[in-house]
Symmetry: C2
Subunit: 487 residues, 2 copies
């Protein structure tokens, strides 16, 4: 376990993410989600607070399972509208030096040759600060809009995702050799064609001859984030992920999940100790315990129960509008709904919940632990998960924007820094852009070829998570072990 | 014809664009193409020079027609490697206020629901400074990498492109009404679901129920650029384009093209005078005529003939490696090759060209007029095209980077400003970023809903091209005329 804990801001390019109703909280800035200025300020604040990365959730389609209608989702902005998160990254990179960016992308509705190009471009533009959170998508409405009458079943989605990553790995790792790019002005030779290889992938879902259209970027393969929780999802994470998001709501669940995924990773020939586990947390912090409690109650009062039920209906693919919200969960006839409702609230197993109470609970960051208290109390709780349970870091979820972030940065991070759990800012005036003015046409000669770490000032995101000198995927990762044709 | 002429920098996120060999010119910065810093400096310089937009060409796949092999293309960086241009835009927008961005995207290898989302996001992030250059792609290697064994034939590609734009138009224009977004914190109502409509598109190529996943952006539909030159391409441009790129190499050809496309636009019920025509130009400028000539000769000496033939082979889909480069064009047995070679050099019809000479000619910006001279001479030539031929603007092509751009901005633009052909910079310290530091969480309340022009300081790109108050597509455009189901 590393000494320092890792921090991602878990957010979404939408009005609402995991706290339906909170956009209407007085002073909340969520309706600015479409503006570049909103996101550059998020980036500066996260960098100032020692965050490793901003982690963008994403979803396509609309939450129309609830009531078999999109009305509630549109009216209450339940993850709709939502802009494309990867386009925020270059602007946020422009105003920061070290902050990383994890972007959620679905393997179900795009093509690996295209996605590989986008992430190589992003890795170049960010000097190696990019990660991808690989998902397979769950909304029927997304499938319909993107050309499928029916969602693929889960097994097919994961089969496709496996092959999708194989193609991307081959493009990122195997196509251009490290010394392929020569930039020899004398001979007029930019690259050595003998060192730029086709990948000749022919599979069930894709046929991609290659070569990759982009030269090697600082990290080559972006850092791979994954959050699989089903059996197939855990296998996928164990095989591919470098950073794993455990969404189990209890400590026992997180411990079991980590043990299981590590064991599966070992079965895949990977060193399980190189995986980095994150859990979601919802910190609500005040200068005093009473202030924190008051803030929590004010936030809770803004939870929109109906909007939360629309969100949960999409997650579960079950229409919760058909259930009386004041019904006790234990009296619901549908076992599946009862089971998942109980799963959401497993952290308080002895309570007798109504559906409404589950929604009120989930409306503050869904299933992640809510930590309400003073900076010391929040730091204690994070330190406990870090030091006792062994998680490496946290996906910090927002309720009110930007207060959830600024409270954390201004109140909790100083406490974490005092304990040596978050590193100090690099320089006094840390954030605010690499350069404000002046002329700089870049290196003019690629700094990229033949080096394992490309960026100037800081380090790549992978090095930040795994240590200096580890800009590239480790040799035990499947992308590095076998040629594409063997995988 | 407007008084002011319009300027696009025509470039590409690659080592080489239209001047094969020039990256090896002493001091050329093209190998920095993958760096964010290179592009932010391009943006600052273009804005300083009064450019309306940076226009990104793009291509997928590799130029492997020449010699039926990719060797020359890879060795000499013939538009390979090439990064994804749209990801450069947000960083370039961050350091500028008024500069627009036109991004080439193919309708052949993407899905309209996805593309509509990307451009809505970009239009939001740039405060309405985005355009799309719609292409249908021509490289077989791109088709193979993106899942097609064979390129679609041209007719099918255009049929698909027509339907593709219909879907995008419906998502951009018809799905969210202007006053759909309410942001009413009291009632908790973000949007009025009765004003957010499905588009229910069912066609030959796509089935997209909608609604659009993004709320209306400042321009809704990005400015539509197009460069069709075939009969079908001209029809497509006449129906859809707001800015048209005429690539005919002679004045007579440009005049005929403009007349024809305008006439076709009128047939589509559009006001032809609202179309904006651009031609490509290759300015090579010096303080004196002799200095300009010397620069031209130095640039010409760096043209890589073999690389140019590889580029032309891809353009023409004909393998020019099979022809002796010292053969006279008129002696080539293949009529098609002879015809296109002659087309390239139509500006000097009386010369007796060898294949090598055609390549040397095309290696300086392909078919666009090269204008070599003093700032006054270059300005005279641009003024002639603008005032006498009636083109509205120019796509300025680069030979050496950044010299082609900086020479134009530092030498030609002052002359054009003196003549009133390019507007003066807005403020003394013009470029360099909207704000260097400080805290700004954006508006917090959308400035977008219900306004026809969203951005704060400057104007949208469409207004820049068509006049203040014209942020949205004109009513005579097909996207505005009929509901999606009727198109």
């Amino acid at each position: 376990m590393p000494d320092r804990l890792h921090l991602n801001l878990f957010t979404m390019a939408s009005v609402e993410h995991v706290s339906p109703g909170s956009w209407a909280y007085p002073g909340d800035r969520s309706p600015g989600y479409a503006d570049r200025e909103y996101w550059t300020e998020v980036a500066r604040t996260a960098e100032r607070g020692g965050f490793d990365a901003v982690f963008f959730a994403d979803v396509r389609g609309v939450y129309d399972v609830y009531g078999d209608d999109r009305e509630v989702a549109v009216e209450k902005a339940v993850q709709t509208p939502a802009n494309d998160p990867q386009l925020l990254v270059p602007a946020m990179a422009e105003v920061t030096e070290d902050l990383g960016f994890a972007v959620t992308r679905s393997t179900t509705y795009t093509h690996p040759y295209q996605l590989a190009r986008e992430f190589s471009t992003l890795d170049h533009l960010t000097d190696g600060r990019i990660a991808i959170n690989v998902v397979t998508s769950y909304l029927q409405s997304a499938a319909e809009n993107l050309g499928l009458d029916e969602r693929m079943d889960k097994e097919t989605r994961y089969d496709r995702a496996d092959e999708f990553l194989d193609v991307c790995y081959a493009l990122w790792e195997d196509s251009w050799e490290d010394d392929a790019v020569e930039i020899d002005r004398e001979s007029g030779r930019y690259a050595n064609p003998a060192k730029v290889h086709a990948i000749d992938h022919v599979g069930d879902h894709f046929s991609v001859p290659g070569p990759h259209g982009c030269e090697p970027s600082p990290q080559r393969t972006p850092v791979i984030y994954q959050a699989g929780s089903s059996d197939r999802g855990r296998e996928f994470a164990a095989a591919n992920a470098e950073a794993v998001f455990a969404s189990q709501p209890t400590e026992a669940g997180v411990r079991e999940y980590m043990r299981d995924v590590k064991s599966r990773a070992a079965d895949h020939g990977r060193d399980p100790e190189r995986l980095r586990f994150f859990i979601g947390v919802v910190p609500i912090v005040g200068e005093t315990e009473a202030a924190a409690e008051a803030k929590h109650d004010a936030y809770a009062a803004h939870v929109d129960v109906e909007a939360t039920l629309a969100l949960l209906s999409g997650f579960l693919d079950m229409d919760l509008s058909e259930i009386d919200p004041d019904r006790k969960v234990e009296h619901i006839e549908t076992d599946a709904i009862q089971g998942t409702m109980n799963a959401f609230t497993r952290s308080q197993p002895d309570r007798d919940w109504t559906v409404r109470e589950v929604a009120e609970f989930c409306g503050l960051g869904t299933t992640s632990p809510t930590i309400v208290g003073t900076p010391e109390q929040v730091a204690d709780e994070l330190a406990y998960w870090h030091e006792e349970v062994g998680v490496h870091g946290f996906n910090v979820k927002e309720i009110v924007r930007p207060d959830s972030l600024t409270d954390f940065v201004d109140l909790v991070v100083p406490e974490l820094r005092e304990r040596g759990l978050v590193s100090d800012p690099k320089s006094a005036g840390g954030s605010g852009g690499r350069r404000a003015s002046g002329t700089n046409w870049g290196s003019g000669r690629s700094r990229r070829s033949g080096t394992s770490c490309g960026n100037r000032g800081g380090s790549t995101l992978r090095e930040r998570l795994l240590g200096t000198g580890r800009a590239r995927l480790h040799d035990d990762h499947p992308a590095r072990r076998e040629p594409a044709s063997e995988r």
